[in-house]
Symmetry: C2
Amino acid sequence: MADKAQLQEAIKTQGEVVRKLKSEKASKEEIDEEVAKLLQLKAQLGGDEGKHVFVLKTAKGTRDYNPKQMAIREKVFNIIISSFKRHGAETIDTPVFELKETLTGKYGEDSKLIYDLKDQGGELLSLRYDLTVPFARYLAMNKITNIKRYHIAKVYRRDNPAMTRGRYREFYQCDFDIAGQYDAMIPDAECLKIVYEILNELDLGDFRIKVNDRRILDGMFAVCGVPDEKFRTICSTVDKLDKMAWEDVKKEMVNEKGLPEDVADQIGEYVSMQGGQDLAERLLQDPKLSQNKQAYAGLTDMKLLFSYLELFQVTDKVVFDLSLARGLDYYTGVIYEAILSQTIPAPVSTPTEQNGADEGGVSVGSVAGGGRYDGLVGMFDPKGRKVPCVGVSIGIERIFSIMEQKAELSSEKVRTTETQVLVASAQKNLLEERLKLTNELWNAGIKAEVLYKKNPKLLSQLQHCEETGIPLVAILGEQELKNGVVKLRNVASREEVDVPRADLMDEIKKRTL
Amino acid sequence: MADKAQLQEAIKTQGEVVRKLKSEKASKEEIDEEVAKLLQLKAQLGGDEGKHVFVLKTAKGTRDYNPKQMAIREKVFNIIISSFKRHGAETIDTPVFELKETLTGKYGEDSKLIYDLKDQGGELLSLRYDLTVPFARYLAMNKITNIKRYHIAKVYRRDNPAMTRGRYREFYQCDFDIAGQYDAMIPDAECLKIVYEILNELDLGDFRIKVNDRRILDGMFAVCGVPDEKFRTICSTVDKLDKMAWEDVKKEMVNEKGLPEDVADQIGEYVSMQGGQDLAERLLQDPKLSQNKQAYAGLTDMKLLFSYLELFQVTDKVVFDLSLARGLDYYTGVIYEAILSQTIPAPVSTPTEQNGADEGGVSVGSVAGGGRYDGLVGMFDPKGRKVPCVGVSIGIERIFSIMEQKAELSSEKVRTTETQVLVASAQKNLLEERLKLTNELWNAGIKAEVLYKKNPKLLSQLQHCEETGIPLVAILGEQELKNGVVKLRNVASREEVDVPRADLMDEIKKRTL
């Protein structure tokens, strides 16, 4: 427990931080964050009358999904899962946290973004950073050498969130991976086919899938004269080419990573190359590159990969791009990344982030990525036995952002329930009869609602249907009860018809197929 | 970083702990836990040749789901979600962690079980302990006064796991809640109807739903002479009656909580009462209890609740039980809990927990619980505006445990993929033709697999179908290619028939409806 004087001091200091940021016209996001910290401190101190003041927000970089967003999320998941199942995948699940050491040494420079749990006695734990490392742990632990599985779950990164662009600290990944010793490039090609299918079916506009190979990159670094121990760190720098200009990337290589300028320039020449199978063939003729064993193997496989992609009819969207590097340490072969051409038209404001400054179109960037990681499972096996793996991860949050904005711009109303019928009454004192009929409908498997009021007005019952899109109303009155019928009303057309109570279930089913 | 000598000392100490437990014949679970700690320490020190030794396990109290378990999980979720949707619920999602203070002061004595995240700068965060408090935070934050929603997600409790009984530290909750100002007991009755439906449809054998009311408990404590400030803590003790005998509960009340013995005895009389609507009526005549305002209100509502439960045809399983207390602080009215009569026949062994000592039948205990919490949302609202809520949480892990054991005992094979057809060949050099046909099938929406080998043997292709339950094989050979046909084989009957390539999709669809 911090004592009161300390807290007041901390509040004063934090207040100055906020004032400074405001005077410097810092971004809304930055200011909001510091204001939230200030409010938290104030809350610790207690409110005016000692009443506890809550900071009503979700944790930084996270969000709730409201029912409309959930309806969209379900639609997106269904498309993705259908594709995974079409390709014969099973599914698994792993815990949200792992032993800390399971994640150690797998993510290179990104390791600093891992969330740790507090040491409350017992094991040291961290939230999963991706689904790939837990998958490898799962394979090694259960001695599985063959599996094709998908896994859809949330992962956690203490990154700088940019939520209007769909970048969160808690976000979903949809992973598909193939583990097993197989003939070269066949599973790799299937992963790319899946990305192609999913992005097509989600109907998000044009896209490209960049492909490269870690062995080609390493070979390229070697022939350009990068020292071995700098391969990974230079690889991280090359990975920034999608966000930074070559000039800035070069600066980082030379000034921060200590690469001679001529070495950087040679890399610059290679990483500007893009093409298809033809480029792989051309580079196989490159006198320097083809002499390097690694590069030669990578280029030969790239050629083979494109021949399979041809059979899978996806080469119109796939580009062999030597600038693609991907940050993670564990890749050993083919790597890829899918990019949407579309930009997000106008950022959706959320309560915690009303980014007024940023109203132009925003590129959503990468929406899927993956590659081959033949060494990862072996890192977990006591005897180092390898299980070759290749996989792809669909970055679903950016896709949600786009779909949400599409839904907002469209006039079509998103239904958030599936209720087929509301049981209603125009008269008083019929609650018991309404509950009895509702119960009959539930027991018959019909999705039915009833207002939780003793004597609701007919108008408010009809309004509930209009608002939530319930298509039918089953209306009970003294007369209907006497005649053994129910008045069935079509909400849209306002037509009403008396249906014998015994036929009601069939009639509702027929009308709401 | 701990230094080497310190580590070696810690390993020595931990080794003694393990030896001591073994000599004392402690439970397998306890020993396993201490062994795991020992291995972790050894891993920190490094293996024999300085090679890093991994502890291959999931965090304590957590587990992976393999594809078979996932297939069962999906089935259970489908039943539960169908029921929620039948009752007109929408769905929402909230982040896995909340600001720490959001969870503070909501769980009474259970608060010590909350997982905190490490302070890595920024906000103080905790993993959610249930879905109810995040739901209340969501309502207050978005000023929602009316919603019927379900939420299915994992929650986290640093409890002592007993995994053979389906008690985990990471586990799913399936919550259904109704928020809004409504007429008494109508939403409450619907929650009980839902529990009844779900437990019936899951087909887990007989069950009972105990019902009570916090106001009846509080009134009872008052008339028995429990001081006001001890209501909550005595409530926690009463809650242990499902695991402890009355004698032990009484001891805790008297010795630990300082209650006079005659007060405890009076409580003992009340909490032994069970019944239905009749008991509510009888207690309304109880001269002491009926004089207490709280108890009177609770008993009147209980009577009303049972009249609605009668209409919903669920009274055969519902018992008004004065011993039901439920531990959580936030309940204000009706509370309930569902208990399966069935015991788990034989614990399933998992790699981390082979509980040899505990081979008898194990009662799974509570599988659903909930109640009314009218004050919780107001705790988050700056002006204290209340939103009355009632809900139920299905404790799915115990249900999974039972379903898994049922599946294991049954001879029926659980399929983990939905693949309709395997594209195969008996001849060499047909990889490209196989890939081409597979691609055609995928494009037609058919779930198809192909082995990732250049020249797989026909036998191993057929074996793959047998193992994974794929019902059809599409066989390509030189002859078939020349004739423009595909040989379609039924795996079970071994019948083969030549199908013109143009008709193949329709034929597969027809056969795998």
